[in-house]
């Protein structure tokens, strides 16, 4: 409806514009014609002026008068004999004949007119008098005897001038009439043109008025439209804000339970399960991971769509970009049975490390996901100011036709792979968008059946080489840690998952439900690392961190954030945290954080804080080989016999029997190793290597006591029921 009206209006407006143009051309034409007509009148006036119309009636009248005077002078001469007066009057009359046969008088009537004939007749009559007049002018006496003929001729001349006067008057009247008529006609024409011009101008003004009306109406409509658009835009903006809020909520609300599912699944996996159960648990875990990936992808993509992703290049060592990726991806590659190799030059460049990591993690994740066996090679190279990253796999490869579709949204190569590999198909589209944000190129070189190489190139200048070059860098992951970690989270499931995973990694972990409890915990005991959730009742993580930092606590604090938004990271760092981890907390993420902030178990063991380490895999195999009951019986036996051996060792120390002590400790170590009690064995071995005077059997006893309290009661319960 509206567009139709607008279209019609535009058509009307166009027609009006055309009308104005035509009328303007018409008015210019009319104006020209008026000017031309006026110029014509003016020219005629000039012509009249130029032709210099001496009043011809006046001239004829003068000639007639002079003729009359000549007759009068002749009559006077007959009485007085004044011949000189006769000659003078004749000369004056003669000069008149000159005038009426020459100059404008002649021109005015043309050669053939009756007036001209009469004028010629006057001239002829006067010329007839000329010989006799010349005669009497020369000798007045000649007048005598010719009086009558002179008078007669003068009378004839007088008759001719009289006729001329009448005729001239009539002719002039005709001429005046004709001229007046012509002038009138011209005035009429000018009048008509001026009237037409006036009408045209009135039309133009009217059309302009209509046009103005149209314009102002369009203006009003545009204003209304723009107001309506502004309202719609406002609504759209608020809808978009609602979408963002919804996404944030989704992210939090889905990830929190997912955190619980994945964490508990991981814990469940480490408990005793039969093969079916292991498979089921792993399926749960795998599904959870996939679900998380999907959520992350969608969140990332919506952020990219919203333009919320900013490219913030900073000076960074390439190593800093790669190390977290190595920590994250190596376990994954390992569990997939792939060899993951990183190779990059030690350079300092200018890039957005987070975005680069995001792309690399995606590419490497894909490579691991789609490569059934072999190796994934990650290579970085610089040339000039360009950084090139390559992820090369030994997977099935991609055909040329397919590679073009790869970087499109929601595209997976075939539906079967969607089923077998899962995912939204957004990963590479996100990568492409991210690389575009970084003003770089991304692509894939691949031969079907012969692996693929995904590459990206960005401008990362200026690139500076660092002093120590690490052309090949391989990180060995540390799995066992030693230290105390405080987990602060109001969600009991999340907290328990984190605590369980941490304990599995060999650290002593404590929990706190909010910031206030966390501060109280740090006052009571020392921690090597604090994992701090952001949103908690009573006191949130950020505030707690600020208070702790204000109190001078230097312990590394890692924020647990519900999502990977840049704003969260910034908030963490600003509050004084060292790092942040996006939930859910997984074993890999914990390993990565522990590697950074907590000492590895094999570096040293502080006696005050003995870590209890058991070789679980070994114990598991023992259990499977011997049966649960038998294993537990052996453990109980070990606990009681170790008490005996430790007593013996103490007495050997007090008696200074070094050999005896060594034998006892060797036996203890052997027994401990047999049952997988690594900590006890290590402690025994540590004491063996010491000089006798420095041996502290209590060091070993601490571990054995831990064994007794932590394992035996549990084992005995199992034993009773088994």
């Amino acid at each position: 409806m509206r567009p139709t009206i607008l279209k019609a209006r535009r058509a009307v407006s166009r027609r009006i514009g055309l009308g104005i143009v035509i009328l303007t051309i018409l008015s210019v034409g009319l104006l020209t014609s008026v000017i031309w007509l006026f110029a014509g009148v003016n020219e005629r006036q000039n012509a009249v002026r130029a032709s210099v119309r001496e009043d011809m009636v006046w001239a004829a009248y003068q000639a007639d008068r002079e003729a009359a005077r000549l007759i009068e002078a002749i009559r006077d001469a007959l009485i007085s004999g004044d011949i000189v007066q006769v000659s003078k009057r004749f000369d004056l009359l003669y000069s008149r004949t000159q005038l009426i046969t020459q100059g404008s008088y002649a021109e005015m009537f043309g050669a053939n007119s009756s007036v001209q004939e009469l004028a010629s007749a006057v001239s002829a009559r006067i010329h007839d008098l000329l010989p006799v007049m010349d005669l009497i002018a020369a000798d007045p006496e000649e007048f005598r005897g010719r009086e009558d003929s002179i008078l007669q001729q003068a009378n004839i001349a007088r008759k001719a001038t009289g006729d001329l006067l009448v005729s001239t008057n009539a002719a002039i009247n005709l001429l005046r009439l004709a001229e007046r008529q012509e002038t009138l006609a011209t005035y009429w024409r000018i009048g008509a043109s001026v009237a037409a011009l006036t009408i045209t101008l009135v039309l133009i003004v009217t059309l302009l008025g209509v046009q103005l009306f149209h314009i102002s109406r369009s203006g009003r409509e545009m204003e209304l439209l723009s107001r309506r658009n502004a309202r719609v835009a406002k609504r759209a903006k608020s809808a978009s804000a609602a979408k963002s809020a919804f996404l944030a909520t989704m992210s939090h609300e889905i990830r929190t339970p997912l955190n619980g599912i994945i964490g508990m699944t991981e814990l469940l996996r480490t408990s005793r399960l039969d093969d079916d159960q292991i498979h089921q648990v792993e399926t749960i875990r795998h599904s959870g991971d996939m679900l998380l990936d999907v959520i992350n992808d969608i969140l990332d993509y919506s952020k990219l769509e919203a333009g919320a992703v900013r490219f913030e290049p900073k000076a960074v060592d390439l190593r800093e970009v790669f190390e977290p990726i190595e920590h994250m991806m190596l376990p994954r590659a390992e569990s997939a049975g792939l060899n993951l190799v990183f190779q990059y030059p030690d350079v300092r460049l200018f890039a957005d490390a987070n975005r680069l990591r995001q792309v690399l993690v995606n590419l490497i994740g894909n490579a691991i996901k789609f490569t059934p066996a072999g190796a994934v090679e990650v290579k970085a190279s610089v040339s000039g100011d360009r950084l090139r990253l390559e992820v090369k796999d030994t997977g099935p490869g991609i055909s040329k036709d397919d590679s073009s579709r790869l970087f499109r949204e929601f595209s997976q190569l075939d539906s079967s792979s969607t089923r077998s590999f899962g995912g939204t198909g957004l990963g590479l589209a996100i990568c492409r968008r991210l690389v575009e944000v970084m003003a770089g190129d991304i692509g894939v070189d691949s031969v079907l059946g012969n692996g693929s190489t995904f590459w990206l190139e960005i401008s990362a200048g200026p690139i500076a080489e660092l002093a120590v070059a690490h052309s090949h860098h391989q990180v060995a992951l540390q799995r066992d840690f030693h230290g105390r970690v405080l987990v602060v989270d109001d969600n009991a499931i999340n907290r328990d998952v984190a605590l369980g995973l941490l304990r599995k990694l060999g650290v002593i972990a404590e929990g706190a439900a909010n910031g206030r409890e966390a501060i109280a915990a740090t006052e009571e005991s020392h921690f090597d690392l604090i994992l701090m959730d952001m949103q908690m009742p009573q006191m949130d993580g950020l505030e707690a961190t600020r208070i702790l930092r204000a109190a001078g606590l230097a312990v590394p604090i890692v924020g647990l954030t519900a999502n990977a938004f840049e704003s969260d990271r910034v908030a963490c760092i600003e509050a004084g945290m060292d790092d942040h981890v996006a939930k859910p907390v997984t074993r890999d993420k914990l390993i990565s954080q522990l590697s950074k902030h907590v000492r590895a178990a094999d570096v040293s063991i502080t006696p005050e804080q003995p870590a209890f380490i058991v070789d679980e895999d070994y114990q598991q195999s023992l259990k499977e080989a011997l049966g649960e009951e038998e294993f537990m019986r052996l453990v109980r036996e070990f606990v009681s016999s170790s008490e005996v051996m430790l007593s013996q060792a103490e007495s050997a120390v007090s008696q200074g029997l070094a050999d005896e002590l060594d034998r006892i400790l060797h036996t203890l170590k052997g027994a401990a190793l047999t049952l997988g009690f690594r900590s006890i064995a290590d402690a025994a071995q540590a004491e063996r290597s010491k000089e006798l005077g420095l041996v502290a059997v209590s060091n070993i006893r601490a571990f054995c006591a831990a064994t007794a309290t932590a394992v035996v009661p549990k084992a005995s319960v199992t034993g009773v029921h088994g």
Partner: protein, 166 residues
């Protein structure tokens, strides 16, 4: 008595340049008489001129087409303003009177502004009475075409015999 007459004559002669008789008398045929408010004269408050005397004054040639002749002609004669200055004329108007008693008045200011002449010759030939002579008032049509109008034609007196300054 004679002495008195002589003394009076002498006095009159002394003041002559300012009153009368300071102009030479005409030798040839008298063709113009100037009278009225003039300071130089040669006969009873009048100035009488022959052709030779007029020719001695500043001249002008006006080459123009006029209503009275066919085609273009060269009119030459004395410039009226110079003639009037020469006679010490002062007044508002000057009246030109023809042999046939036709007369026309020209404002003094117009004569001062335009080099109007009393033509004595046309194309180098003296004007006779039969050819509108002996003197013809000719406006400078060659300088200003707007002079082609009836008022000017009316003022263009021919067969001029006398000029009166008043």
């Amino acid at each position: 008595m004679n002495r008195l007459i002589s003394a009076t004559t002498l006095f009159l002669m002394m003041i002559a340049p300012a009153v009368a008789g300071d102009l030479a008398l005409p030798k040839g045929a008298e063709i113009l008489e100037v009278n009225g408010s003039i300071t130089s004269s040669n006969a009873d408050g009048k100035a009488i001129f022959d052709l030779e005397m007029l020719d001695a004054l500043p001249q002008r040639v006006t080459k123009a087409t006029t209503p009275w002749y066919t085609g273009e002609h060269e009119f030459s004669g004395v410039i009226i303003s110079d003639l009037l200055n020469y006679l010490g004329a002062s007044g508002e108007n000057v009246t030109f009177t023809a042999l046939n008693d036709y007369a026309s008045e020209i404002p003094m200011s117009e004569l001062e502004n335009l080099p109007v002449i009393l033509a004595t010759r046309v194309d180098g030939e003296e004007l006779s009475v039969r050819d509108k002579g002996p003197l013809f008032v000719i406006y400078p049509f060659d300088l200003d075409s707007t002079l082609y109008n009836e008022v000017i034609f009316g003022r263009s007196v021919w067969q001029v015999a006398s000029v009166t300054v008043h």
